[in-house]
Each structure stands twice: as structure tokens, then as C-alpha cells.
Symmetry: C2
Subunit: 359 residues, 2 copies
């Protein structure tokens, strides 16, 4: 006997990337930042008075929202703070998509989107990216002709790391009849020379919702703090109706604010990741493992069929290096590798060198 | 223009109890524990290494689940750890109730239940408690004849503080065709002489889900940690399919575990609350403000119409004492007052004395 709803009974659930307990493992599989959080986070942690844990936290994380609003030059009412990016994705679905409406993505993409649609019980429509990971020219036309209510667009994309420009996104938002959720989980790793900033889109288009997170750029995956930026008509219903009353906790709110306010430290870590990304990409390419151009903190690495990506994944794992291999169609011949510390990246390269010369 | 779903557009949202920033306010309105968390929580906080925040937390809070399972003498697979009790309530709805099915409560009850049902878009059916706050004899018959899929039963009840016995709950679970969620948010404040423990019900009945929280008994409302105890057929779908992948954070998991493991401290604080509850009840009754028999950390206080409960609420607020007044039908003539510190309770009593002698 089961009490499960039909759609829940029929779905399989999301499998998070492996999180080994051992600290001996070089972990390049779930796109965490290779650096610890800012020392300002440590200071904020030390100054927590546990007496404050007795009471409920600010229900909408007011202080943190103010800090985020100032950081982006936008009103605090345009910000919703969530328990990780997952919560914002779920809220967007639960708040805006009827169960007889449809969500769309361009594949390959973050696999959680489909799981969330299954849990909601709505339709989920997959369009395909072009072979070079770009969006098809008729993408928005397809969205509109399929009456898509919500489109998830990770940018930079996962797992490819490719970037859509602000202009391109503006034209999509302008043409699309539904709600466009731009998942900017990896935005902090974009080359700053590109001046990529989508906050202006929120001011221009009432159908754009940006997702930002402290998990990657601020090294706070363990804390579960993310936020959405959007027009009031999008933020308000999630803030006042569909999010859990106290969705983020006192400690996480405080620590995220400390991390945000230490931009100098954050920027240094992003710069380092970009430098390492270039070095890693060059070395992998020279080794016969070409990579997609990435604006993120990971590289999608093409593995020749004769080597076999899954075998390579397993061989690396046996040697204490975790990367990610997806079995989905079209991704079998790739590994997704997070940019790690200089030391971790070197070890990855020397291990790959060994493995490839033995094969 | 709005993208909101019809049911979201039509609902109003939950209004959390006031959380004034000022520490001068005697806060007896949201049932927090008057004591700070255990010193063991402080120690756990000090030993957090922020390097660990860089990585994702344990997705199902494995260490904390193990501790909870040991505490209750039940398997860890019978436990789901959630981001506060709110999340468990929402998950129960999203996982088990189709939008054309119905949830039921016995009123008056915790007002969040209805808001969660509205957000889900399912039916919400209210039965009435008897005048003495007991359940009507035909309650389960009514549930079954209305085809109720999920029934929320807070025990001790809020706002009355009254308790249903384990035997009574067993007979409800046995007879009820749907899922019975017993919301035990206030269970730690029950007189220990009653030996009230519902964990055995979970082993006997596959339709019972218990909700426990660290917010009240362990003084950790600021952290957002609660858990559910139930049969595998209830826990599994929420654990692996409908909860957010990483729903609780690293710090909260660690601190909750520390609090749980210091039972001596926790029990002392519950004893204190019970002693103060008795004193407060006696004093209020002597003052012409009779209270419902409460097994919780609050008292539902009957205010004679001539005094007017809402006026009394406002007068207390003007004097820096926050209590709760609900405007719902049948509750207009009551105040719900959280049992505070000895000092806070004394100040409440002397202020009430002044106000009543002036009126």
C-alpha cells in the first residue's frame, strides 16, 4: 500500500553527486569552489550568540536582502532569499505553473529541472541545443508555439559551461510569452571583461527571474543560501505565499551576508578559478581531451570513444579523484570536471597522463 | 499581468507572529522556549570549521538522523530531517495529496495548515472541536465519509494546549483510511508522568507520520530543524523524491545533534516550563482569567467579554508585552500566552493586575 500521488509514484528522484566523507579524495564532481569561505565568514560565525537561535529568524532574511539589494543596485522587494537554489527552482514551478501547463529546457542541462517538474506533476518539454551547445535559432518560437509557461535556462550552462550574452537573453525575454528563469549559479566565474550583468533585464522585463547562489562563488554550499531577483509580480507571490514561513536560518543569513560583504576575497577566488580553468583546459586539450569553452568553474571534457569516458571516470575514482560522468544520451563521451585547487588540478593532470599513456 | 497559478492568486498567505527586533519586549507570542539552547550547542558552534561549508551538506543529514534514530529506538530509515516543521507539513501534502483530494483538521488549530493546502490547490475541510476542545466522537467517521487523504492533528493541540492520549491516537490511526500527521511540535512540554510516546504507533500503523521539531523543546527556532518519524512507505518518497536535494544545512545539522545529545539540559528546561505553566495558570485563574488545561508551553486564556481580549492584547503590547490574539471565530475571547522566564511571567502578571484593576 502507498499513499503516494500518482506522479510521485512514477518518478525516480534526483541523485545528488557523490559526497565522500574522506578528505583524501580530490573532489572535482559537484562544482564546489576550491577555496574555503572568506575569513569574514569565520568572524561572523564566532560572533553568533546562541541566545539568538532561541527565536525564529527573520522570515524574509531582511538584513541579508538589504545587503543583496545594495550589492546589485536594486530594491530589496525585488529579492527573495531561499534555502539554496533548489528552493527557488521549486517555488517558481509551484507558484507559476499549473499542473496542466508545461516547463521547457534546452538539453543537455541541469538534470534536477526535470525531477522538479515530475514532483509537481506538470509537463516537461525538452528542446535540443545545437551540436556546438548553442541555442537553436527558433528556440523562442518553439517555446511559444508549445505554450511553455516556464523556461529554465542555466547561464553559464551546465554541463557545458557555455554563455549566452545579455543581449541574447534580452531578445529571448522580449519574445517569450512565459516566465524565463535564468539560473546564474555559476555567474561569478564569467570573465569580468565581458561585463555580463543581467540585473538590468529584471528592470526591463517582467518575465525574467534570476537565480543566484552563495554555494559556488562564495564557497558556501554547506549553508544553503541562494536568492532570486525579479519583478515584484514574480517575487511577491513566492515571498508571501508559497515559500515556507521561515525558509532560511539565522546562522546562514548572517554568514552569507558576511561573505557577500567581502567582495575583495570573493573576486580573488574567482580570478584564481579562471586562471586555473585556462591552464587546465590547455593541458587537457594538449593531452587529446578537448574541452568546451567554459565561463564556469568546470570544464566539459570530450573523451575519445576509444578511451571511453565511463572507464576513465572509474579509473580516476579508483585513484581517489572524483569527476562527473553523465550517462544521458549525447553526454556519454564527456566528463564534467570541476576546476580545483592548483594542487588538485596538477594531480588530476598527472593521473590522466598516466592513465592515457597506459591505455 | 501575473504568471501566478489560479490557487496562488486567490490565497492570502500566512502571517508569522510578530518578531520585534528590540530585546526590551517580553515576547510571549510565538511559543519559543524561554531558555537559550544548551551550552553543548555553543561548543558545537565553536568547533565548526568553515572549510566544511565549502562542500554540500549530507543530503539526508545522516549523522543527525542516526542520533535521532538512537534517541527514539527506531531505524534511521524511519526518519526524515526537514528545514523546520513547515517543510515536513508541505512535503506531506505535496507527496501524498492529489489536488482533487482533501485535507482535514479539527478547528481551532494551527492556521498554517490551511495556507499550505491553499498553496497546493487541494480541498481543505474543517471539522469543529467540541466546546471543551475535545475531538467529537464521530471525528474519524467524518474523515472517512469525506474521503480525507491527510489529517493534521497537532498534539498537544495549538492553540488550546490540550492533549490526546496515545490510546486515543491509536484508535484514530486504526480506523482512519487516510494518512494521520500528528504534529508533535510541543510534545516535550507534556508531563513526563503521562509516559506519552507515540513512536510505537509508527511501528504499528503505516498511516502515522509524527512531526518533531528542535524549534521549541531545544530552543533552536532560529536554526530550522525538524524531523518526521514514519513507516518507510511514508518516509521514502519524501526523502528521495520530493524534499529539496540538500534541504538542511551543515551548521544546523551539527548544532541540532549537539542539542539532542544534551538531554539533561533539555529536560531541565522542560521541567522549568511545566513549573512556570502551573504557577502562571493558577495566578491567571485567580485573576479572573481561566486557562484551558495545557500540556504545552503556552496557555489559552479566556478573557471575559467585558474586558475584551483584543483590547487586552493591545494594552499589553503598549507596555512591551507581546502575546497572541486570534481573530478567528470562536477564538475572539482568548489570548494565547507563551510560558516565559520566571521574570517575564511575573511582569506579565503584574501588568495584567494593573490593567484589570484599572478597567
Amino acid at each position: 500500500m502507498t499513499f503516494e500521488r500518482k506522479n510521485i509514484r512514477e518518478m525516480a528522484g534526483y541523485i545528488p553527486g557523490e559526497q565522500p566523507e574522506s578528505s583524501d579524495v580530490i573532489k572535482l564532481n559537484t562544482n564546489e569552489n576550491p577555496f574555503p569561505p572568506s575569513p569574514a565568514v569565520d568572524k561572523a560565525l564566532s560572533s553568533i550568540n546562541i541566545e539568538n537561535l532561541r527565536r525564529y529568524p527573520q522570515p524574509t532574511a531582511l538584513n541579508l536582502r538589504n545587503a543583496i539589494a545594495t550589492h546589485h543596485g536594486i530594491g530589496k522587494e525585488n529579492i527573495i532569499v531561499t534555502n539554496g537554489g533548489d528552493e527557488l527552482l521549486r517555488l517558481a514551478i509551484n507558484t507559476f505553473v499549473e499542473t496542466d501547463e508545461a516547463i521547457a529546457v534546452a538539453e543537455p542541462t541541469y538534470t534536477l529541472y526535470e525531477v522538479l517538474a515530475q514532483a509537481h506533476g506538470c509537463q516537461f518539454i525538452r528542446f535540443n541545443l545545437n551540436k556546438d551547445w548553442s541555442l537553436p535559432d527558433d528556440f523562442v518560437k518553439s517555446l511559444n508555439s508549445s505554450n511553455i509557461k516556464l523556461c529554465f535556462l542555466p547561464n553559464p550552462n551546465a554541463p557545458s559551461g557555455t554563455l549566452l550574452s545579455v543581449d541574447k537573453l534580452a531578445s529571448i525575454a522580449n519574445e517569450f510569452n512565459g516566465l524565463l528563469l535564468i539560473d546564474e549559479a555559476y555567474i561569478d566565474f564569467i570573465d569580468p571583461d565581458l561585463n555580463h550583468d543581467c540585473v538590468e533585464l529584471v528592470k526591463k522585463f517582467k518575465n525574467v527571474l534570476l537565480l543566484r547562489t552563495f554555494s559556488k562563488g562564495y564557497s558556501l554550499a554547506g549553508l544553503r543560501i541562494a536568492y532570486g531577483i525579479g519583478d515584484l509580480s514574480i517575487i511577491n507571490p513566492m515571498q508571501s505565499k508559497t515559500k515556507d514561513s521561515y525558509n532560511t536560518d539565522y546562522v546562514a543569513q548572517k554568514l552569507a551576508q558576511a561573505a557577500l560583504e567581502d567582495q575583495e576575497y570573493a573576486k580573488k577566488s574567482w580570478d584564481f578559478v579562471r586562471t586555473q580553468r585556462s591552464l587546465l583546459k590547455e593541458a587537457l586539450t594538449n593531452m587529446g581531451l578537448p574541452c568546451v569553452d567554459s565561463q564556469s568553474n568546470f570544464l566539459l571534457v570530450s573523451v575519445p570513444e576509444v578511451i571511453n569516458a565511463e572507464k576513465l571516470y572509474n579509473s580516476l575514482k579508483e585513484r581517489g579523484i572524483l569527476v562527473r560522468h553523465f550517462k544521458h544520451e549525447g553526454q556519454e563521451n564527456y566528463l564534467r570536471i570541476t576546476v580545483g585547487t592548483a594542487e588538485g588540478n596538477k594531480l588530476l593532470l598527472s593521473t590522466l597522463n598516466q592513465l592515457l599513456s597506459n591505455s
